[in-house]
Symmetry: C2
Subunit: 359 residues, 2 copies
């Protein structure tokens, strides 16, 4: 059970800053995808009713109205709702867009809707667990014939090369050196022997530097093997049960010769395809895959393997992936990667097993 | 009324990291003051019972035991209590120091104590509002003859010179320039007019850059006038009512010729004097005033005045100061400075009134 007050303090608070909304509104890849998904599929919006789950500044609700929606319900949990209301009015849409301040879980609408639109994706898709709220909205407020925007979502992983591991390892080592100096001083000057805390301190620092996934904008050539899908979500039918745990066994072959396996990269894409009975005229994709020109504020999540492992073209990785919500905070994740490497020669390397936190 | 879960998420969480405890344990000025206050006043500890409010790593409890305490109750709200227990044991004091995990407000002790020791001071003394917990502990668990460590605390303010104001003003201006570019792009590419949000965005940014006090280690020569005490606390008798609001009218004269008044600096000191009937043998002071050689992790809080005001030796400032807790979070503060400047010539400048947030 989630304490609402705690959830607000830990999660929603950041969304009440225009500064943060602006960061999302400045992400061109994100903006283009939603903009095109709406304006190239006006038939989904024209004369229809729309629910925007987590409207933030109100942008998706405004576009929906501009695309001809009859009525748009724009629900936002934070005080940002007040700014959204201003923005709707300044764009002369107060007759169409109704901004409702409240959690989607708590509010009621006067009618069911034809479209649910939402930008609910967190790092590596599921961080923030906001898709739960979209599912809740869908089950309560989407007509049986309704359409989800986006309609599909996928999680990807791939083997990568990166200098981050060396960097973080050296940060960790520096921090431990500092600890030893601190320990000596505390004994010398203050008569207290801290050595019993060396182990817990080093575990804390290891978690921080080495076992927490890192935000990174990978260059495509840092991806050294085939990418694999670990989760494929149909937004129209997925349940919370389907996403609360992600588990997959996938294989990936190294596509670069004479390289280093330094870890795994994780990202997502979503698609706007409408629904089978009422498909999109133009299917739109929003991908957060490594890219030189189309990077997003989501970047990719990097999971460090240290030390790196020599790898070569044709080596095969069998990766067992699992992701669960952290017990302390359902919006954060814990990830496990198991990996069996069969070299091109047929030689099997000792298997790997690594746990990470997405904080 | 404070939601315990929220308070934990916002406040206590940081203290559960050894990394953070280590920062405090590495503050030599802080450590020396507490160390000396204990070991130069062993008569207060020898054979006596002690309560350490918020023991963290356990350091003050351990010193109290080393100074001869018969029994030390070491209370800590976070999981840090487990590390404290380990440390106590490793230093062979588990017969004397009893670590209790819990809020001081919730726990019970088997007896009243002779000494309450605590390091409860936040930025500008009262940020974190932890002294409330010390008051609660004192009223419930200190014997009528008991001693408080520290025994006294004071808040200081002084006029200062600083380049931070110019820096923050330019950060603010850059952020607004960026906003205007963002606004144009959003109109051009996405058909939405954001101008109605310019005012709330600029207010948000002003609050962030200009109205939030800044942590700084001031050089003593940045203090351009006499420092004044705005609060004097007797830890043995102060009530929550006494500290929930701080209000004072003080005057300060500029002591530097041909200078700029760029804002106010705020800091604190505490003293270890024992109690009248049972005084310290060696009075110890812990000051966080601007200093070249004895800077602390508390630094000083800087409250920016922008634009700066020409000031000269002999100018007189009449400052009315008030500080209240923020409504959203009782551990954060809102501060107001009123200032009347009478120049050496007798000329009265237009009066100033500025609000700040201590976040
Ligand atoms: N359960 C819930 N109910 C209402 N709003 C929610 C919610 N969970 C998250 N949100 C809001 O959803 C927003 C997600 S960010 C996306 C904002 C906007 N739709 C845009 O695309 O720019 C945040 O503003 C957050 O406060
Ligand atoms: N009401 C309360 N009950 C118990 N512990 C508290 C408390 N309020 C704050 N604390 C704890 O008090 C500590 C203050 S920091 C000081 C730690 C230690 N005494 C030292 O001097 O190094 C933190 O560890 C915090 O978790």
């Amino acid at each position: 059970v989630v304490d609402k007050g705690v959830d607000f303090a830990q999660y929603f608070c950041t969304y009440s800053f225009l500064y943060h909304q602006k960061e999302m509104l400045s992400d061109r890849v994100r903006m283009d995808a939603y903009f095109n998904s709406i304006f190239q599929n006006k038939h989904h919006f024209n004369g229809r009713t729309v629910l925007d789950v987590g409207t933030g500044s109100g942008i998706l609700a405004i576009w929906s109205a501009q695309a001809g929606a009859r009525k748009v319900y724009a629900v936002e949990a934070t005080k940002m709702a007040e700014h959204a209301r201003l923005l709707v009015k300044a764009n002369n849409l107060e007759g169409v867009v109704e901004v409702i301040e409240g959690s989607i879980e708590d509010i009621t609408l006067p009618e069911k809707v034809d479209v649910i639109i939402s930008e609910w994706m967190g790092y590596f898709l599921l961080r923030e667990s906001m898709f739960d709220s979209v599912i809740c909205a869908r089950d309560r407020w989407l007509k049986p014939t309704g359409v989800m925007y986006p309609s599909h979502a996928r999680m990807w992983i791939a083997p990568i090369r990166s200098a981050l591991g060396d960097q973080k390892m050296s940060d960790y080592e520096l921090s431990m050196e500092d600890w030893y100096g601190f320990m000596d001083d505390t004994k010398t000057y203050y008569g207290v022997d801290m050595s019993v805390l060396t182990k817990p301190f080093s575990e804390e620092q290891r978690k921080y530097y080495l076992k927490t996934s890192l935000w990174n904008n990978l260059h495509p050539n840092q991806v050294i093997g085939s990418a694999a899908i670990v989760k494929d979500i149909d937004c129209l039918t997925a349940t919370v049960e389907d996403i609360v745990e992600v588990k997959a066994s996938v294989s990936s072959s190294i596509t670069v010769e004479n390289t280093w396996l330094c870890g795994y990269g994780g990202w997502f894409d979503v698609h706007f395809r409408g629904r089978n009975e009422d498909p999109a005229q133009q299917e739109i994709e929003l991908t957060t895959a490594p890219s030189m020109e189309n990077s997003t504020h989501w970047g990719q999540q990097v999971f460090i393997l240290h030390p790196p492992i020599r790898a070569n073209e044709g080596d095969n990785l069998n990766v067992s992936f699992s992701m669960n919500r952290s017990k302390e905070n359902h919006r954060l994740m814990e990830v496990e990667f198991g990996c069996e490497i069969t070299q091109y020669s047929g030689k099997l390397l000792p298997s790997l097993r690594n746990k990470f936190f997405i904080e």
